[in-house]
Structures are given as structure tokens and as C-alpha cells.
């Protein structure tokens, strides 16, 4: 089998008039890898994914999915990819089993319908109409439809928006199972914990540009993961970025209030990165302060 990357994106650009939505984005996703595209709303995540799915034509650059230009991808190519769109199509009048049975006939080498229903935890709802299910259950139907064709590459566009914590954890397990079958997964999300749980690598995108691209535990560079010591004293809250947190703590007088040592997680690194972007709505001013103290 080919070891070429499943997805190759090179200088991908999408402009609407003079508005650049995706600006020279490049990345690769290896076979069997789970890759997360992270970014705030309007960052260009979905536009990027929709170009990879063949639904939008790039203004510039190139994209290859399984070696094929998505705009040229025919039915054979379609049968090898799975798509879970951001918005749910409401085939509400069909039951879970009816719609999955239909989609299973559309793909040439489909998974077993009942096994797939079981995999997404909907066995007891198999005979219910999709329109009568809860939002989270409908989303699981979307995922079932995305994997029924045994795709080699699966696109998941913000799959768990609106899930409760329990449903999200069940969903993560499902995606891990799909990934362990060797499926390449491209996941967009604005839940950082989701990316940490599922992805091998991630790209952070904002204002259409790729700000960082690395393994989940390395993204942002080693410096961004410098431990932080925080405490409070008479003059207010204090914060120090240091590679020797223990030494800093030993040097503190007495028992300071609210003492903690934290290692910046993906979310902190992400917020710092997004916040440094001038164009976007400034959300986390806390991250900016952190930088100032550190400087």
C-alpha cells in the first residue's frame, strides 16, 4: 500500500472578492494519522475542509486527498472518503436504520449497518425517526453516515458542538476506534481538549493563516510550555515563567496565597497565539498579561 500522505495541502488560498478567507495554508496528513485543525469561529477551518471535500474551488494553491484533486474527484474517490458536515441534513422522516441502509448501498464496500449503529451507540434507537432524536443523537447519526462507507479519510467538521460532557467522551471513544482501524482523520474543532484527546498533530489557524503546525504536545514550541508559578501577595497576583519552578517556590517568603505551578496546556498556548493575531476579536486578555509578566 502507498505510504504517500493521505492529505497534501500546499499554499491553499480562498478569496471572496478582496476578502481572503484562507491564506496560503500548507500541511500534510500522513496515512492513519488524526490531525486537528484548530481556530476560532471564522478562522477559515471549514472553508479549508470544504475545499478538501471538493465543495469549494480554491483561488490558489493546491490540495490533494488520496492523491486526487478534490475538484476532480469522481465517484471512486468519493467512495474512499467520509464526510461529516458541520450542519446536519435533516432526513428526519427516515429511521436511523433506513437512512444507514440506504447510504450503505451507495458505497461499494460498506460496513455492516447494525454494527455501525451499535458503534455509535444508537442500537436502541435504530427504529426511531432521525427527526425525533436529540441533537447529540442526530450528530451520532451524522458520524455513522460518515463512516458507513469504510472511508480511508474521514473529515469531521466540529463534530461535538452541542454535546454534553458524557456524550462527548463516548464520541471520543468512537473516533479512537475508527482511528485504530487505520482511518486518516481530519478534525476541526474549537474544543482544545478534544484535540488533545484525539489528535496526533494539530494546526492552529486564525484569520485564514496557519499560525502553528506540530505534534499536539509540541505545538507552539518548547518555550510556550515553560512552567508558570502563580501566587498572591500584598501587591496582588504574581506570575513567573520559569524552567525552575521549584527554585522559585523555595525562594518565596512563608506560605503565599493561591500558590500554584502550572504547565501551559494546549488551550493556554492556543489563546496566546490567537490573541497575538491583530485582526481578530481579542478574547483572552489574560493570555496577553501572561506574556507581559513573562517579558
Amino acid at each position: 500500500m502507498s505510504t504517500a500522505p493521505a492529505v497534501v495541502v500546499d499554499g491553499l488560498t480562498k478569496r471572496y472578492g478582496d476578502r481572503t478567507v484562507v491564506d496560503g495554508v500548507s500541511f500534510e496528513i500522513g496515512r492513519g494519522e488524526t490531525f486537528a485543525l484548530l481556530g476560532p469561529n471564522g478562522a477559515g477551518k471549514s472553508t479549508t475542509v470544504e475545499m478538501l471535500e471538493g465543495f469549494r474551488t480554491p483561488t490558489g494553491g493546491s490540495a490533494r486527498v488520496l492523491g486526487v484533486d478534490p475538484r476532480q474527484g469522481g465517484r471512486d474517490w468519493r467512495s474512499r472518503i467520509g464526510v461529516v458536515l458541520q450542519s446536519t441534513g435533516q432526513a428526519g422522516a427516515l429511521t436511523v436504520r433506513e437512512i444507514l441502509t440506504h447510504f450503505a448501498r451507495v458505497f461499494p464496500a460498506s460496513r455492516d449497518v447494525d454494527e455501525t449503529i451499535a458503534a455509535v451507540g444508537l442500537t436502541e434507537h435504530a427504529k426511531r425517526r432521525v427527526g425525533k432524536l436529540s441533537g447529540g443523537q442526530q450528530r451520532r447519526v451524522d458520524v455513522a453516515l460518515g463512516i458507513i462507507g469504510r472511508p480511508e479519510v474521514l473529515f469531521l467538521d466540529e463534530p461535538t458542538t452541542g454535546f454534553d460532557p458524557q456524550a462527548r467522551r463516548r464520541f471520543w471513544q468512537l473516533i479512537r476506534d475508527v482511528a485504530s482501524d487505520g482511518t486518516t482523520i481530519l478534525l476541526t474543532t474549537h474544543y482544545l481538549d478534544e484535540a488533545e484527546q484525539l489528535a496526533d498533530r494539530a494546526g492552529i489557524i486564525a484569520g485564514g493563516r496557519l499560525l502553528a503546525l506540530d505534534a499536539i504536545d509540541r505545538i507552539g514550541g518548547a518555550e510556550a510550555r515553560t512552567p508558570i508559578v502563580r501566587w498572591a501577595d500584598a501587591s496582588g497576583r504574581q506570575e513567573v515563567h520559569t524552567h525552575e519552578p521549584a527554585a522559585v517556590v523555595r525562594g518565596l517568603p512563608g506560605e503565599p496565597d493561591e500558590l500554584e505551578i502550572v504547565r501551559p496546556r494546549l488551550e493556554d498556548i492556543y489563546l496566546a497565539m490567537i490573541d497575538a493575531e491583530p485582526a481578530d476579536e481579542g478574547g483572552g486578555s489574560a493570555a496577553r498579561e501572561t506574556e507581559e509578566v513573562a517579558a
Binding site: 500500500m1 474512499r80 458536515l85 435533516q90 422522516a93 433506513e98 440506504h102 462507507g149
Partner: protein
């Protein structure tokens, strides 16, 4: 290796895939149609209900035309009109709204992400239209015969006329439904865009009002559209021959029915093929 075998199988769409998936689309479309109460009431039963109302309300009224011992009654006259309304509503109105909703709620985009051919989708819609329209027409004829004592023609030629006008009308209205489905920009506006157009055309095409009583300029406008000709064709098949005195020019003109419907079907197919989009433009 098994992994390679699976990969190979995956890449191969078997021959006959379009036909097989098209037939499965018909099954799925029918299931959804039967479960959609708005489609059942406003498309499937509407012409039947309307016929019962018209035929009951006007049953005591004098016949529209008496020549010798032959006559054309109101319940007779409204039967072909409601048959035409049925085909028109199933095609232009129901398909138009249905496809517009499916395009705007993401259903079509989800289908586009699969190996389902556009042709199979069209087979599904056309199959749904043909099957529901035939059942609807049969129901309408049954109500007319059983409840209102309408006598149906016995000559095979008349049934042949009914059949070809019926199927040409189905094709014509199906492609026009696909075309009109491109107009609404949201799920909620689909019905609001499609229904007024459909309603206006029915009023000027001799469906609700006898065509002959309309002013000439309105007849001219209506005659540019296919619906008036479907009504004309159905009347020529189902009404006694004397009913031609109620037509413009006091004659049947079946060749014009074929020409106008054929022209609209061809033009509509071209426009439908050029403008059809799985997804709405962003």
C-alpha cells in the same frame, strides 16, 4: 493481503451502480413522501379534496353545455382540471419545494459527499413523482366515478391520449420543479417562493376557472405555459367531443399540446442541467 483487497474493492464502483442506487432512492423518497404530512395534504390529497368541493358545490348548477342529447356538466369539467392540478402540484410545487429544502438544509450536500450519482438522485425524484401521481390520478378517477357518477371514456384512443399527455406533463413539470427549486435561498422561503407562482398559474390556466371565461390576453399568457395545455389535453381525452365548443377556437389541438409540453420539457431540462447545484453557493 486483505488490506489491499479491501482497498481495491473500495475503489471500484460496480457497473449498474447508478440504476441500483436510483431504485433505492425511489424507495427512500417514497418513504419520506408518505411520512410528510404536508406533502400528503397539499400535494397528494389536495386535488382530490378540491374536486370533491367543486363537484359538490356545482352539482346542482345547469350543465355548462348542452348539444342535442349530449351535455358537459360542472363535475365532468372539473375532473380533467383536477387531474392536471395533481400532476402540476406533484411536479412543480412539491418537487420544487422538496429540492429547495434539501439543498438549503444540507441534505443534498451530504449526498454530494457520497458516490451517489446525480442521475440516481433524479431517478429517485422522478420515480417518486411517477408513482405518487399515478396513484393520485387513480384515486381522483375513482372518486369521480363512485361519488359523482362520472362516466369514463371507453375508447382506447382516449386513454392513450390521457396517457401520453400525463407522462409528457410529468416529465415537463419534474424538470420545471428542479429549475424552480434553484430560486429559494433558505428552507423557510422555499414554500413562500414556490406556492404563489404555482397558484397564479393554476388560476390563469383553466384549472380553477373554466379557461373560456378568461379574457383573451390572459389566455394568451397562460398558453405560453404548459399547464393550460395539460388541461386542454386531459379535457380532450375525458370529456365528450362536444366539449370542444368550450375551447378557444372550438377545436382540440393535440399537436400543440405535444409541441408546447415538449418545448418546455427540453428547455427545462437544459436549464435544470446547467443550473442544478448540490450545494447553495456561498
Amino acid at each position: 493481503m486483505t488490506a489491499t483487497a479491501v482497498t481495491d474493492a473500495r475503489q471500484n464502483i460496480r457497473p449498474g451502480h447508478t440504476l441500483q442506487t436510483g431504485v433505492d432512492r425511489i424507495r427512500v423518497e417514497l418513504l419520506q413522501y408518505m411520512r410528510r404530512s404536508d406533502a400528503l395534504v397539499f400535494t397528494f390529497l389536495f386535488p382530490v379534496l378540491l374536486y370533491v368541493i367543486f363537484a359538490s358545490a356545482f352539482s346542482a348548477v345547469d350543465p355548462m353545455l348542452i348539444v342535442g342529447d349530449e351535455q358537459v356538466t360542472q363535475p365532468q369539467y372539473y375532473l380533467p382540471a383536477m387531474l392536471a392540478a395533481g400532476v402540476f402540484l406533484s411536479g412543480v410545487q412539491n418537487l420544487g419545494i422538496e429540492i429547495a429544502v434539501e439543498r438549503n438544509d444540507g441534505t443534498l450536500q451530504r449526498l454530494a459527499a457520497t458516490p451517489l450519482p446525480v442521475l440516481a438522485y433524479c431517478i429517485g425524484k422522478l420515480g417518486q413523482l411517477v408513482i405518487t401521481s399515478i396513484v393520485q390520478a387513480a384515486l381522483l378517477l375513482a372518486v369521480a366515478v363512485l361519488a359523482f357518477g362520472i362516466e369514463l371514456p371507453t375508447e382506447p384512443e382516449r386513454w392513450l391520449t390521457l396517457a401520453w399527455v400525463f407522462f409528457l406533463a410529468l416529465v415537463c413539470f419534474a424538470v420545471l420543479g428542479v429549475v424552480i427549486a434553484q430560486l429559494p435561498r433558505s428552507v423557510s422561503s422555499a414554500a413562500a417562493v414556490v406556492i404563489p407562482v404555482a397558484l397564479a398559474l393554476q388560476f390563469i390556466s383553466g384549472i380553477f376557472l373554466p379557461f373560456a371565461i378568461l379574457p383573451e390576453w390572459l389566455q394568451t399568457i397562460a398558453n405560453a405555459f404548459p399547464l393550460a395545455w395539460v388541461g386542454h389535453g386531459f379535457r380532450s381525452a375525458l370529456l365528450p367531443d362536444i366539449a370542444r365548443f368550450l375551447e378557444v377556437g372550438e377545436a382540440w389541438s393535440l399537436p400543440m399540446v405535444a409541441i408546447v409540453l415538449g418545448a418546455w420539457a427540453v428547455a427545462g431540462s437544459v436549464v435544470a442541467a446547467v443550473t442544478f447545484r448540490w450545494i447553495k453557493r456561498g
